[in-house]
């Protein structure tokens, strides 16, 4: 079993994500450079955060055209779990794997702070061990994290249960305080907050268990360890 961690030029949470997947949750994770191909026998894909291509043009838009994204799309169609965190979420949105766009925060500033998420969908491969409406203390760190969709799409997202996480409080002006969404099949999830920064007790003085459950959900989904 293997989790692929995709590395784009400018990714900077790749090593953090790899550390949490392997050292904390004992998963078998491997880095894949954006110009390489993804093997077909991969069990899950994670697009970590960072500033791919320095956020030039628009966060995530250049990376969305990387060669590896077509492999990610193929795997996603097969139902393989795909998680995009922060810049990874922006890339999934820009590549059309997830609906919506991510705009500049209402404050127009980069924001690094702890916030609470509320679980809205606990049927995805990354939330199946969480309770519905469970609170997750977790940090955000982004400049373009304001999720936006038009009213019609929002209605569809609600109807299809595609809103996975919302912020407990108004944080950045996101539509319906949305923090994370999934595709209609539920296997592709994108979220702006960083679960890999909240899943260890040493780093998260508040409560690391809820974020841990995001990774434990993945462990549950892909079945076996190493």
């Amino acid at each position: 079993m293997k989790v692929g961690v995709i590395v784009f030029p400018g990714s900077n949470c790749d090593r953090d994500m790899h550390h949490v997947l392997t050292d904390v949750f004992d998963l078998n994770a491997e880095f894949f450079w954006h110009e390489k191909n993804l093997p077909e026998n991969i069990d899950a894909v994670v697009l970590p955060g960072g500033f791919s291509y320095g956020d030039r043009l628009r966060a995530g838009v250049i990376a969305a055209h990387s060669p590896i994204i077509s492999d990610v799309k193929k795997l996603a169609e097969k139902g393989i779990p795909v998680l995009g965190v922060c810049n990874g979420f922006q890339i999934l949105v820009e590549s059309g794997l997830l609906p919506g766009v991510l705009l500049k925060n209402e404050s127009l500033n980069f924001m690094c702070e702890w916030t609470n998420l509320i679980v809205k969908n606990n049927k995805t491969p990354f939330t199946n061990k969480l309770e519905l409406n469970q609170k997750i203390p977790i940090p955000i760190a982004n400049g373009e994290g304001r999720y936006f969709v038009d009213d019609k799409t929002l209605e569809q997202l609600e109807k299809n249960n595609q809103i996975v996480f919302s912020y407990e409080n108004k944080v950045n002006g996101s539509v319906s305080q949305i923090a994370g969404v999934c595709n209609s099949d539920g296997n592709v999830v994108g979220m702006m907050p960083h679960p890999e920064r909240a899943a260890e007790k040493e780093i998260n003085q508040i409560d690391h268990k809820p974020s841990s459950l995001i990774f434990e959900s993945l462990v549950e989904t892909v079945g076996m360890k190493k």
């Binding site: 949470c13 291509y53 320095g54 500033n109 980069f110 924001m111 760190a141 260890e200 040493e202």
Partner: protein, 719 residues
């Protein structure tokens, strides 16, 4: 560009011919104050630089400390004052970039950034606000993009920085001892330039920084590109992992001239290079401009020819440029060619070791005429004074600043910004506590004790997390050194720092001197900045919020030292009085006692007592715990109430102790003969200080919190 008389003589004596244009430019860059340290070099030697943890290797641009288990920590500090005063966003951003490459050049990965920022009065001066906002944005833009957390620092405002800015950046790196670059070179090794292209930006930057800021020479300010820097970091570390690098140096002040001459000098080799090989951003650069351009995001690498193909393929992977400029020779000469034509040929050590200058010093006249105490009495009640101090931009929470910095990336930040000292976890299970401190208000009144105070304050901050100081870096910032009065203040500072470092056995592992920090209204106040690194064998003491009935214990003596305090300067607009002094034996004793209590697990929270004095230190704890306090000031000392509340005496710590542990704490402190007083307890929802059984100050915690947390943001909103 012009040489001084003694420099002309030095050239005549050693070169015995006319210099070429390129040679003149190279020497002007390398012999600038900024690159040559010609006023300070002979005095910096007094600082102690060795210690049990220090690893010394030739040619390192950063200090290297052994933290055990095969791991090292590297540290460096720099400033980018002149550029930031002209173009704050780019100036501050490129300051970050430069110091990161110094960490990289030792072969370590940068893991944290710290900034010391100083500006004029942001409450009244919209230009100061503009400089402040944009410098913060520049640091955020650069550090965030690289994925290096900015986890600490300080921000201070003082009229002496009007229309000017001090932007200091310290960086910390981490790596395996076995992977440190052991700078060396063999004859015929290749000299390679990796990274961004060379352009006209930053031409003459070092000379620009070695003169008073008169015009706004924007072409001397470098242009930041954090994306390229990120690619360089990853490419260089990959080259390191594949053992491709023999020696390495960052291109900073003085550009290629400095990097080539200093590398050749430190390794005892010659370097021959052709400027035609340098990859350029604009095609019409003159050869001498190529040699002194300070374009950012460039690294000089010396590698064996056998490793060139590996280096090329790594650079190809990251799509960064890589040019072979020339090669290593035996002759110890710096030989610059333009195609077949030789345009500079000078001994490398002649270039790298500029002639030094002995500067005159004399005690500044102002120091003999300082007023003793303010004439006016308080028009405000002590409660209103405290409220006003809590909203002073120098004291109020800096949340508005650090929330713009990604301080979590790297998932090492165990203690986050906003407390005494931030702490990083290391891969060997130990923790690293780092703090930088400066205090120009104290240093202006007493340059020697002020500098020692900054040093002690940084130590106190790391001690509050349970860390033992293992090394320090200093950044000495002054006005024009040609003025004997300014030079005197420089000498006082460095002598003070040296004495304290020797007394506490804390080696200086890096530093920088920045002169010519002058504004239209005169020189800045002496602004030495000290960074201290502390090591903790396991987890740090986390700041735990105080709760009802916890005891407030003050370690150390409160003295009649209101000079340079926020109380005198912000409330009374008064500059004068006696600034705090450090008693070295008490300093050591108190540090040692607090560390013992922490290691015995007897302390709930330790907080440094500094700016704003005891009143602010206790109020900050109340705000943190959302709980009031009842404090008896008579327990502190017999001084007047205002002195007890607001004096900024050093070597003091406020400890939060659970009642059940109080007796054990007192026993240990008495055994150590450490001066302490039990001031009262945390209770209710009001901050109450009483004297002679009468309350002298009463403030609802919510109100204090509102002023403390929101003031800075409100000032910024004023545009």
């Amino acid at each position: 560009m012009s040489f001084q008389e003694h420099e002309k003589l030095h050239i005549e004596k050693n070169v015995k011919r006319e210099l070429t244009t390129t040679e003149s430019q190279i020497l002007a860059a390398e012999w600038s104050e900024h690159c040559s340290y010609k006023s300070s070099k002979q005095h910096l030697k007094m600082l102690p630089t060795t210690g049990p943890n220090v690893i010394v290797e030739k040619g390192y641009d950063s200090g290297v400390l052994d933290v055990g288990d095969g791991y090292v920590v590297t540290v460096h500090i720099e400033s980018h004052n002149h550029p930031s005063a002209v173009e704050p966003f780019g100036g501050a951003a490129t300051g970050v970039g430069g110091v990161i490459r110094d960490i990289l050049s030792a072969g370590t990965r940068p893991i944290a950034l710290f900034d010391g920022l100083r500006f004029g009065n942001i409450e009244t001066d919209s230009h100061a606000r503009w400089l402040f906002k944009n410098a913060v944005a520049g640091i955020a833009d650069y550090g965030n993009c690289l994925g290096i957390p900015t986890i600490g620092g300080e921000v201070e405002f003082d009229e002496c920085y009007k229309n000017y800015a001090l932007v200091d950046v310290a960086a910390v790196g981490f790596g395996k001892k076995s992977k440190l670059i052991k700078n060396h070179a063999n004859i015929d090794d290749l000299v390679i330039l990796i990274g961004g292209s060379t352009g006209r930006d930053g031409v003459g930057g070092s000379q620009f920084a070695s003169d008073a800021l008169e015009g706004e020479d924007r072409s001397a300010v470098q242009i930041p590109d954090p994306f390229i820097e990120k690619l360089i970091i990853e490419a260089i570390l990959e080259c390191r992992d594949q053992n491709c690098i023999n020696a390495m140096k960052d291109l900073g002040g003085g550009g290629l001239s400095c990097a080539i001459s200093e590398t050749a000098e430190s390794l005892g080799i010659g370097i021959e290079l052709d400027v035609k090989n340098v990859h350029l951003r604009e095609s019409d650069l003159a050869p001498e401009e190529i040699m002194i351009s300070e374009s950012q995001e460039r690294m000089l690498v010396i590698a064996s020819p056998d490793n060139l193909s590996k280096i090329n393929s790594i650079c190809d992977k990251f799509r960064i440029q890589c040019s072979v400029l020339g090669k290593v020779k035996e002759d110890k000469m710096m030989h610059v060619k333009n195609g077949n034509e030789t345009i500079a040929l000078l001994p490398a050590d002649f270039v790298a070791r500029g002639p030094l200058i002995s500067r005159e010093k004399s005690k500044p006249k102002y120091l003999s005429n300082l007023p003793v105490a303010p004439e006016s009495q308080n028009n405000l009640s002590l409660t209103d004074v405290l409220l006003k101090l809590l909203s002073s931009p120098n004291i109020a929470s800096k949340h508005w600043v650090y929330r713009q910095y990604d301080h979590e990336v790297g998932i090492r930040t165990v203690i986050k910004p906003g407390y005494d000292s931030s702490v990083l976890r290391l891969d060997n299970g130990k923790s690293l506590s780092v703090k930088i401190d400066g205090n120009p208000k104290h240093c202006y009144l007493n340059p020697r004790q002020g500098a020692i105070g900054c040093f002690e304050e940084a130590c106190r901050n790391v001690v509050c997390t349970g860390a033992t100081p293992i090394g320090m870096v200093d950044h000495l910032q002054f006005g024009n050194p040609e003025d004997p009065e300014i030079f005197w203040t420089f000498m006082e500072s460095i002598e003070g720092i040296t004495d304290f470092a020797k007394s506490l056995n804390i080696p200086c592992v890096g530093g920088k001197v920045s002169f010519y920090n002058e504004t239209n209204d005169g020189p800045i106040k002496p602004t030495p900045l000290i960074g201290v690194l502390g090591l903790i064998d396991s987890s740090p003491l986390h700041p735990n919020p105080p709760s009802e009935n916890d005891v407030i214990l003050l370690i150390g003596e409160t003295k009649d030292e209101l000079g340079g305090s926020e109380y005198y300067e912000y409330i009374h607009n008064f500059v004068g009085g006696t600034a705090p002094s450090v008693d070295v034996s008490n300093s050591k004793k108190n540090m040692d006692s607090v560390l013992s209590l922490i290691s015995e697990n007897l302390v709930k929270t330790a907080h440094d007592c500094s700016k704003g004095g005891l009143a602010i230190a206790i109020s900050e704890l109340c705000i943190f715990g959302k709980v009031g306090c009842h404090v008896n000031l008579n327990k502190v000392s017999t001084l007047s109430t205002e002195k007890i509340l607001f004096s900024e005496s050093h070597s003091r710590y406020v400890l939060v102790i659970e009642k059940s542990k109080l007796d054990s704490v007192k026993n240990i402190l008495s055994e150590k003969n450490c001066s302490f007083s039990e001031l009262g307890i945390f209770t209710s929802d009001q901050i109450i200080f009483e004297s002679d059984s009468n309350p002298v100050l009463e403030l609802i915690v919510d109100k204090a919190e509102n002023n403390y947390l929101n003031s800075l943001g409100k000032i910024i909103q004023n545009g």
